[in-house]
Amino acid sequence: MPQYILKRVLYMIPTLFGLSLIAFMIIQLPPGDYVTSMIASMQDSGANVDPRQVERLREIYGFNDPIWLQYLKWIGGILTRGDFGYSFEWNRPVADLIWERMGSTLAISVAALLFVWAVALPIGIYSAVRRHSVGDYVFTFIGFIGLAVPNFILALALMYMSYRYFGQSVGGLFSPEYVDAPWSWGKFVDLLAHLWIPIIVIGTSGTAAMIRVIRANLSDELRKPYVITAKAKGLPEHKVVIKYPLRIALNPFVSAIGWVLPELVSGVTITAIVLNLPTAGPLLLRALISQDMYLAGSFILLMGVLTLVGMLISDLLLALLDPRIRFT
């Protein structure tokens, strides 16, 4: 087992290297660079920019260097000094920017994930056990709606409702008066009043998908002879379902963890923009639009790392859950 983990970790190194290379190249693919997009927004607001100044800026930012040199500078900084570079747009080190947003990002994503599991698991089991019952159809119907409605529409609708009927400040995680205030009971209540919208919005499609997966897997499992035998021998229903079939049905649950980790960082970008959440997603999008390449590149690299780690964790968990899976 430790050998297996070591091997997996070693494999990660070339994968990450390739990943960083591809990420950097993709960021460089669109025409222009950060200076282009900055000049565009300045001219857009009516400022006249001297062409000589543009050239000077390119020099300062080092955009005149060949791409491979820019890449070496960036990756060299990360490897030797743990320095992810400097964000042009924010004028701050990339690492600071990313870490700052990690807290709220993780809080929202984990809360949404728990919401998904808490809702999807019982409903999925119910739907599988009581297949084709009225309850199953009702949940299926709701689930499909949850899958089909785009998140941002749901977010806008809920925000409008909360503005129209509850009269609360929309967007963000806090009302303006609490943003800079120290933690207090009032601030916590204010947070809860804001948090339900993102959690429901982010959770719905995940919940719907999860219900379908559990329902399908569990139904397959419930028809197997060992379940019928167990039932015939008089085991109580909840025991029959939970002891073995559910464990097997949980496999997709666990194998999804590999994707959950990077999702936590970037998954809910559109929702976060619409809801004005201070998470990492909008920052990444903004960095890509303005071609703030070190920030964007570091984000993509970070997500790559998270995916790899997530995959490893889910593989290990799978083996724990299902003794039939062996390390090779």
Binding site: M42, L57, D83, D180, V274, P282
Partner: protein, 645 residues
Amino acid sequence: MNGISRRAFIAASAAAFGSAALLPRWALAQETGESAFLQSEVDAGNLPPVADRLPTNPLVITPLERPGTQGGDWRHALVGGGSLSMLVRYQGYEPLVRFDPEWSGVIPNVAESYEVNADATEYTIKLREGHKWSDGQPYTTADIQFWYDAYFNDEETNLGSQPFLEVDGAKAELEVIDETTFKLKFAGPNGFVMQQLAWAQQDQLTRAPKHYLEKFHIRYNPDADALAKEQGVESWIALFQREIGFQDDNTFFQNANRPTLNAWVFTSGAPGQNTEQAIATRNPYYFKVDTQGTQLPYFDRVVYQMVADPEVLLLKTLQGEIDMMDQYIATPANRPTLYDGMQTGDYQFYTLRETAANVMAFQLNLNHVDETKRALFNTIEFRQALSLAVDRQALSIDAVFIGQGSPAQPSIIESDPLYNERLAKQFTEYDPTTANTMLDAIAPDRDGEGYRLDSQGRRISIIFEIDQTRTTFLDMFELAIPMFQAVGIDVQMRTMDRSLWEERVRRGREYDATAHQFGANSGIAAMLDARFFVPTNSNCFYAPGWSLYYTQPDNPAAIEPPDDVKAQQELYRDLTGTADPAQQSTIMAQILENAADLFFTFGVSLPADGYGIVKNQMVNVMDTMPNSFGWPTPGPARPEQFFKS
């Protein structure tokens, strides 16, 4: 002299001298109360009393409606996180001289007074005695000298100079006379220095505090390189440039440590550091008082909510969380929604006078690399015929702008003294028959599908390359393309991402045509930004090569323009060399007359007025103000005298 008569005296003198009246220091010391916001700081001895913080001769502002009281928050919002250019509008407009609220001229601001000599080669500017930066250090000609030596004239730190401070490639010379007086001297006549200084974000002279910046410059601090390394920057040059922040607005406003002369300063971290809000508090050393002697600004704080999406801002506005807003959400489409929300949001509308020269200007690339196309596009009748082929009423006014505006070419508005009817109205009528006749003379042959052929026998296709974020352009083109096709011209639209558009159009030469807006439609603004009337800057997409020739004739990419265009450029050079307003108007009128002959571009209509929303309790906000970047709405309307009743 008792208090009442002094007040009357101040009011009278303020009325007589505009807003720059003289006040002896002792008068202020008696009259000016301490701000409650700063009282504790003063009591603790951290701040000198207000009389010692003001300049000897503060700028007296006559409030628009009535004087107010200090206190309260001005609640604002910024959309898009990283983009801080908007801050100049709300708290960053403190140049030496500023545009007056009506945008009819410039008035003293940081400078107490200024003089121009007869041939516009020498500008004498006088600062205010005892004026201080927001950290209490004096603002004197030493700061001007520092800006001149360490940045403006410094080969290493300078990021491309400011063209308006140059004449024929020679930079302005600085002569410091005493602690408050200096002269800018030019090699030749330079008429628009004051107007250019008043233009938003162009005046660097009021934004370079020597005592703060000198430690980053190697000539003033030999350890500057070490300091840079400490901060993780490669060399002192990069650090100095970052600290002075002149390269772009973001860099400038993100630095909260640099002292300013502005009414509000960021104290608890730079904007953008906190992703939810940014707060600026009153500058204790701000140099303006109202007619009652109260130190401005009235608002203690400006609170910006950081919003990622305009729709969220719209909801916040409807909820009444925003005190004033005319950007981002004030679109024609949102007008009904905002109108319906007036009651609950407790706000009203004000008018934004649009200053763009047209809603959209069709611009054929007159410097095209393709010989045949270039010749065709340079045929003035060709452009005129295309203009006649456009049904402007159907195109924009009915379809896109909901019945607002009247057909016009890029031009000056009718209410302006410079209005030129021929420039505005020629070839705006919808007349496909005449258009066809004119085109028959230029390109009579047609192919099987009815499209005209050029002199090489190729179908005349004009591809308009459009930045896809400009949705109104896309809407208009959907309707315009069939109109061009009806006269046998194969016009196509190619939309593309902004960055690709920048690359292909702003930096390239191979595009057939594009469409754009902006420019200016009145007075000073049109003289400073004459993009549609004479090719002089990089916003003239119809003639990139000619424009480059104007500023850098030696540049290999520059193209020598034909004589009539060259004459127009010379005329513009004359204009910029004239300081006398009457003379300026005469020359500008001639430029506009020539522009009507040259017919570089054709447009659709003058833009209809926009709007903004302002909370009902806000006082001293103008009912109508220009909407512009150069007159950074609402900066020149003097936010320092806004307050809430």
